[in-house]
């Protein structure tokens, strides 16, 4: 369905380039949700925006790779064809819905813009109202004329989701869609997204920094660190038996309701490396408890029981015990 191969993206600062995403490859199968997990600055949002070709000069540049949607390489499309694809096939759910909705534009219009003008006006209106109602916006008919600032964050996100779904997309890209919302709203939005995926058989690329959220929603996860994929595979596999030390640390950071020891959440010591032009070795090595001489060379992704890991120490078994001890 969506196949990303060897994607490399750089941001442009004056005359310097800093590579934010390097050699990223993964697939999003039809009807499944893939979680793109990593801390801020890991390049996960950049990947998501690159799929829609929203990273472009003067901000940044997609340097290499391919992004295929149903076999068509989006990076090779003309601007016009790309617009048509965005308009028809891809829906985007932003991180902060209150900032993403043009403050001067009425709610109804936001959704309406994604519908074909060939559909009669009354029909479009009915469509928008039923869509908003199905997404939990009550009295949608009376609220089409409202402005975004009159809506709460959760309501704005429902409008943004309606905007993404109105065009009947094949793929939905959600960029931390619940981060800016209240905790109570977060869950309902996540449920809503999952229900819509099932109902419409959508493929979904779900960007999040929260492995717990990915666990709830995603069939597959792709873990990114410093612009590179360090581990990817079926969610249950990855979370139950994390093979990469970074993933392990992330899993350790999920609060466990069953954990009665009242242990503190574990933080990962150190800072991720700054984006740079060239890099040798594993980017996680400086923070890694298992780092060894081998880590001075960048490890390739290799398969290990259905999960792909980029780590020289991926087979080392005693690590989960170490994590358990430190708790």
């Amino acid at each position: 369905m969506l196949q990303i191969e060897n994607l490399r993206v750089a941001y442009l600062h004056d005359n310097r380039r800093s590579v934010a995403v390097r050699d990223v490859s993964f697939d999003v199968p039809t009807g499944a949700t893939v979680g793109l997990v990593g801390e801020s600055g890991s390049g996960k949002t950049t990947v998501a925006l690159s799929v829609m070709r929203l990273i472009r000069p003067p901000i940044g540049d997609i340097e290499a790779g391919s992004v295929r949607l149903d076999g068509v390489d989006l990076l090779k499309l003309s601007n016009k064809a790309m617009r048509t694809t965005l308009h028809g096939d891809i829906g985007y759910i932003p991180q902060d819905p209150t900032a993403a909705l043009d403050p001067l534009c009425k709610i109804g219009r936001h959704v309406d813009e994604t519908l074909s003008p060939k559909i009669p006006k009354a029909e479009r209106r009915a469509l928008i109202i039923s869509l908003l109602e199905s997404l939990g916006v009550r009295n949608a008919a009376t609220r089409l004329g409202s402005y975004p600032h009159e809506f709460s964050g959760g309501m704005c996100q429902r409008v943004a989701i309606a905007t993404a779904l109105a065009r009947g997309p094949k793929l939905v890209i959600a960029d931390e869609p619940t981060t800016a919302l209240d905790v109570t709203t977060q869950l309902s939005i996540l449920r809503l997204l999952d229900a819509q995926r099932r109902e419409r058989n959508l493929s979904m690329l779900f960007v999040t920094h929260d492995l717990a959220v990915a666990q709830m929603l995603c069939q597959y996860v792709v873990v990114m660190y410093a612009g590179e994929v360090v581990e990817k595979g079926p969610t249950a596999e990855v979370i139950q038996r994390p093979r990469h030390p970074y993933t392990r640390a992330l899993v350790g950071a999920i609060p466990q309701p069953t954990d009665k020891s009242r242990a503190r959440l574990r933080a990962i010591p150190g800072q991720p490396p700054a984006p740079a032009q060239d890099r040798v070795g594993c980017p996680f090595a400086p923070r890694c408890p298992l780092a060894a001489d081998a880590c001075k060379v960048m490890p390739e992704l290799k398969e290990l029981d259905g999960v792909e890991v980029a780590c020289w120490k991926a087979g080392v078994e005693e690590e989960p015990r170490v994590v358990a001890e430190t708790r």
Partner: protein
């Protein structure tokens, strides 16, 4: 909405009253106006007679109240320098200034907004260079010098356009062009940075992700960038009025500015007072209009202050 409008209206009236009062006091306290008005060689009796005609024998507050009530009735007194009622002079001059300012401002807005927007969208290209050049030159070159250069080139050398006075539309071109440069510069600069701001905003990314047509994207962009541009219309209007005094003097354009300068040379306070009062009322009312229209254009402000 009505409450906010009324509140702003009252504030505007206070500003007008304050300016009128200050001008009145300055004129009355600066010396004996009758002395100034009297022709050379006038006797003391002559001066007292002139003073009585002006109402100077009454105490200051009586003079002030009389003055206010006259203004409210639209009576600005009689000009001794021009031998005519001041209202009549103002009524003749005002349309000229309005015409000049309107044409200059319309031209400046059209060019400034388009140039600023295009230069932001095409950041780094030659048109961006042009916009930045205009933005810089427009705030550095004095309009009176620019006017002189225009006269020299278009009127004296090329003999294309008249350099002096009012008449057909061709008389308007040079003064309006010279007057428009400065507001054009600031509108260009502001439009440019407002557009850059809008281009970087989250909502633009979201609109792009929808795959909407360029024209739709442009509409979002233009609406958002227009807000800060409109906010500063009030300040620009003050700028424009200042500029028109210089331009009118330079081109002999018979508007309010030229009238005021001529009145100064004739030491005719009543006319100066009238011009300043009317100009103040115009500026204050225009600012009120801008404020209210801003409330209408920005739904966030509208609901907050108009509720």
């Amino acid at each position: 909405m009505i409450r906010y409008t009324l509140q702003r209206l009252v504030q505007s009236l206070i500003v007008i009253l304050a300016v009128v009062t200050v001008v009145f006091l300055l004129v009355r306290l600066s010396g004996n106006p009758a002395q100034v008005l009297a022709p050379l060689g006038a006797t003391h009796a002559d001066i007292v007679a002139i003073g009585d005609r002006l109402g100077l024998q009454h105490p200051l507050y009586v003079q002030y109240l009389t003055f206010l009530s006259q203004i409210v009735r639209g009576d600005f007194g009689t000009s001794y320098g021009f031998q005519a009622p001041v209202v009549q002079l103002l009524a003749t001059a005002l349309p000229y200034t309005a015409e000049l300012a309107f044409v200059a401002f319309a031209f400046a807005s059209i060019v400034g907004v388009s140039l600023g927007t295009i230069s932001a969208v095409k950041s780094g290209t030659w048109i961006d260079g042009v916009a930045r050049f205009i933005g810089l030159i427009g705030q550095s070159v004095p309009v009176f010098w620019l006017g002189i250069v225009f006269v020299l080139v278009f009127a004296v050398k090329l003999r294309l356009l008249p350099a002096f006075g009012a008449g057909g539309p061709e008389h308007l071109i040079l003064p309006a062009l010279a007057l428009s440069l400065r507001p054009m510069a600031s509108i260009t600069r502001l439009s440019r940075s407002a557009t850059l701001e809008a281009l970087r905003a989250d909502y633009t990314l979201f609109e792009r992700s929808k795959g909407v047509k360029q024209s739709v994207l442009m509409r979002h962009l233009l609406r958002n960038m227009s807000l800060p541009v409109i906010t500063l219309t009030g300040i620009q209007l003050a700028d424009l009025l200042s500029g028109s005094v210089v331009i009118e003097t330079l081109f002999g354009w018979p508007g309010m500015g030229l009238l005021a300068i001529q009145a100064i040379n004739l030491r005719d306070y009543t006319v100066v007072q009238g011009v300043v009062t009317v100009d103040t009322i115009i500026v204050v009312l225009m600012n009120l209009l801008v404020d209210l229209s801003y409330g209408w254009l920005d739904p966030r402000v509208r609901r907050r202050v108009f509720a």
